[in-house]
Symmetry: C2
Subunit: 121 residues, 2 copies
């Protein structure tokens, strides 16, 4: 049992910390994982994904702009973040850009998030 110290030692107060690191979740893994959470960490992005999930492939930016409480450059900004994260993609048809969700990418994020959270419950 390396890395653990006797509970009695701690209660009696002779020492507190063990001498082995308590984590095998590396800093880089934690960083990547926190990015997975962060991309979902904004209400506008959640609403965008929700809309794209419900309206398969038929949503253009003006649809989104009309439904969201932010201006058009802000919508474009969040669309770009979602696109760079791979969660959505778009296809230009003439003047308009039709966005759609990448369900496989969402599933991958969900899997990574769940793999982290599951041992914690």
């Amino acid at each position: 049992m390396t890395g653990t110290i006797d509970i009695q030692e701690r209660i009696l107060g002779t020492r507190c910390c063990g001498d082995e690191p308590l984590t095998d979740l590396t800093a880089t893994t934690a960083q990547e994982l926190s990015d997975d959470f962060l991309i979902f960490g904004h209400p506008i992005r959640l609403q965008i994904l929700h809309m794209l999930g419900r309206n398969a492939g038929q949503v253009c930016v003006c649809d989104l702009e009309a439904a969201l409480p932010v201006k058009q450059p802000t919508v474009s900004h969040h669309l770009r973040l979602l696109r760079e994260a791979g969660l959505i993609d778009c296809e230009r048809q003439g003047l308009w850009a039709y966005y759609f969700i990448n369900r496989t990418a969402v599933a991958q994020r969900w899997a990574a998030i769940s793999a982290y959270l599951q041992p914690l419950v």
Copy 2:
């Protein structure tokens, strides 16, 4: 089929936006949900939760400080955020504070996150 317009109309270019809002995810719900994601959106907090999940009830702040690449006030800061979010709790024994994970609270966040993501895959 209110809220949908014919795909031909869009392709032919006579109009773009429908006249019904595309979302039933309210702004307040989206805000709460994004908070659920955001609390996990930092590598230090992920590492803390990971450590607490593995070492049931026996982790004090100096354990965490020793394992993490930030100073003690920063550890305390993130512990406070996690505590205010209900994800962890602590018990002071003498000079030390022993932190432990609230698995029920984590499970609730996970459920909320999954309920949102599941329809998107």
